[in-house]
Symmetry: D2
Subunit: 280 residues, 4 copies
């Protein structure tokens, strides 16, 4: 028996849980974990089920659920828990989020396989190579941006990338690339959303005299900083913190928030529901 | 259709979820919320399901589940969500936890009916009566303790009390009373458990120079302060806080923690699993 | 010897601390607590000193400091710690912040004297009168607004009010009243600032799918919700929380944040520095 | 002018602040930051002052303060802020705390110079060498323990080490070494103190069903886990977290707490006051 993660999004109709649980019972699968949620706003039903079953039986389970009259306009996926999420990390010069991801990956905290790291600068090469991973530079200038994005997308396809993590990648993706990566690209925004938008949020926070600064991890969408939020956190600050100290404190929040969001995504815990996310 | 909360504890066997969801589907009940957990340590299965169904169908649901071969040594309960948890509050002289419970009760935050408040002193009478609730004094001295507890237990039975809340009730219950109220009496301990036990925990915390003080809400058991923990929280403190200031800060944590525990219990979210609780 | 709180704001010049500490030493005052801060942005110096001294010596201390060449464009105030901050509370219909202030006032947590509570509705009368305090209604309509504010201001002067607390007072003060109360009126904003502004912030938060909701206490200024922030806090929420549950969770944050801000102000810990506050 | 940090511990007598501020004014030093605290329990006075002054004037300042009749049984130290705290890190096999320290050191977050890392195993060599720092192994067995500690102490003296950080160093120091390093060795304890002591605290936490797990950074003393606490923090957990997941969550708290404690120590913000610490 191998452990599997099933995720299901469907129109919300009666009988879905019965259909799923009967299909699993039929093959003597053992349910280990189960979460579900009916979203009133979108009238959608979301379910995440972890179960132990013979690999050979998974197809029967899927077929049984899909043949049920309870599921409609649905998206059903099952994958072995052992199959880790193939991840590509994008960076610029700051390495704090990158380092956190690499360390958690190596220590087994994150159920991902990092297939590579791409920077628009060369700064993070040594760090990535120390962790034994391939690093490539795809420089981006206004002239080369279209080419650079095409290169990036080609790499995503070639390497079977399931998740792109923008770990303080200081480039704005084009609308086209945002659409191509919809629901599988996570950005870390160095502010509590909604909040200070645009440039230098920590300086804005200092000028405004806030008592907390935060960070938000969200899916990338064409609408800058308006993508569905996956995770957020804050840290308490005082009047005595300079803007540069706020930046340093913010770095801690950013890496913590981004790593949690990546973990939740890779564990198949995050579902899109319009502008919101469901996080089990 | 009325909303119901079903709670189920059973030996952990395959087919429980299928049995429950089929029984609900059979009567066209609509599942609103569902949580489940298989506890490896005790090999027990826990489930909480909120569903909308005709009142008349509930008995059929219960019968169908109980006739399933999947449930063993189980405890199955269904009650209308609208039926609030009948609660008795015990106090001594401190009124901060009591006030918080009364205010949340009145503002509709807590799904409880407070059937009365009992003090071993008269101090809280005016407060309770301002909220329009009956207050009675059952004084406790070494000589009267057995009588006082008998009186208390009689009141619990007479008024159909489902939950007893010790809101900084400064009396230690006898082993007999603890057993009689097992799983339905919640105490707030003015310390982070495990931690400073016994008298004056905030003074102990000050002497030890801790940087956080906390509080724990737990079910009452004969083994003092060792009951299953329902909720805990802490607050940050510094060297500059005097013991009396720690007490004041602790009061905030105590009332917050106790109210959350009462809410979870009244919402039927808390299950006992040996020395631990499962809180959905 | 009586305990005093001295607050000093001055242009930032060398020698201020020496001037203050020498003046205190001269009369054998004992410094109990001292905080100071030089704000680079405004080039202002802020100091708060708690000391024990004979009442008769305080004037000498003040005169000595004011005669020093180190203090410029300064604001120096000394008052006995025992002299509590005369406070007027404004409310509408929601009573959670009001109740928290009243309870903390009665239990000695807040160093304030509540001289009265004014509502634009009668809803909170019973609560206020239970606590033995005077409650008056000053209704506000577009037609009566100017009169109502004049009445309010008259009450502030008559009763020697030093602090006005808007405890979820659902009226926008006129620019004139804001100016008249500058630096001595605290509002609780039911959102994390900057954040959702205007109406129904918890509904906006739900639609945006945020993972934290917060509240901010700030001084009232003519520029709505842009007053200097004194205190902020947040609480973690999930997708499963309905807007009305967010409102309930928000209430807890609001009352906590407002009470802390009132306490800091009444303890003379808060200084205005442009758009920011210094909070010792 | 160079920035300096002055720390002063003295019997608590009147006139200390006046003595210090006059001495600084005399040489036209500019006070940038100042904190002070009178500890009632020990009757000690603590002060930390950051000031800008000519290097040549520092000796005069020290002499002036020491000649004052206000300071008694005192410890007065002044050092340039630019002079970073010479730090030696001890590790075993876990590298999460080590990595955090190394990364913060390199990014300038921590005002320390890491003079080297010593492991009782070779596991962390590659990581340390990637950061360009010397790594040495001093193996410890019951037979070699005395020798190993002598070697360690020799290294501390030779390299002028001011701070020893036990970054999950899985060896108990002898009483002699504890005494030799008193006030300059910081340990991270993988539990909230007081709390679960001894082995496998996260497993104990799981068995007890706690809702928060924590970590504590403290000075090393001969009395195991009873050293003065510098910093503590917690993270919220649920029944669903396995012991190994608690360990992973705990790692995050450990590294955060240890880094903060090291930062505070290196910034000269931590003073010993009996069993407690004063942290400015």
């Amino acid at each position: 028996m191998a452990r599997h993660i099933m995720t299901l999004r469907s129109d919300d109709r009666p009988g879905i849980v019965a259909a799923v649980s009967s299909a699993l019972l039929e093959v003597s699968a053992n349910i280990v974990e189960n979460q579900q949620y009916s979203d009133e706003g979108t009238d959608l039903f979301f379910m995440r089920t972890v179960f132990d079953a013979e690999q050979a039986d998974v197809e029967r389970v899927v077929a049984a659920i899909e043949s049920s009259s309870a599921v409609h306009n649905h998206d059903l996926q099952v994958r072995p828990e052992a199959e880790r999420c193939r991840t590509l990390v994008l960076v610029s010069r700051f390495d704090h989020c990158l380092l956190d991801l690499l360390h958690r990956w190596r220590s087994g905290d994150l159920p991902i396989d990092i297939v590579g790291v791409v920077g628009n600068h060369d700064d993070c090469r040594a760090l990535v190579e120390y962790f034994g991973l391939p690093f490539s530079v795809i420089a981006v200038t206004p002239e080369t941006k279209a080419d650079a994005e095409a290169q990036l997308l080609a790499m995503v396809e070639e390497k079977g990338v399931e998740l792109v993590v923008l770990a303080r990648y200081m480039q704005i993706l084009s609308d086209g690339l945002c659409r191509a990566l919809e629901g599988r690209a996570i950005n870390i925004h160095h502010s509590f959303l909604p909040g200070f938008k645009g440039a230098k949020p920590y300086h804005q926070a200092h000028d405004r005299g806030v008592k907390l600064v935060g960070a938000s991890a969200h899916y990338v969408t064409a609408d800058l900083d308006e993508g569905p939020i996956i995770e957020q956190d804050v840290v308490r600050v005082t009047h005595a913190e300079s803007p540069s100290r706020l930046v340093a404190l913010g770095r801690d929040v950013e890496r913590r928030v981004l790593s949690r969001a990546v973990r939740d995504h890779a564990d198949r815990r995050v579902f899109l529901a319009g502008r919101r996310t469901i996080v089990f």
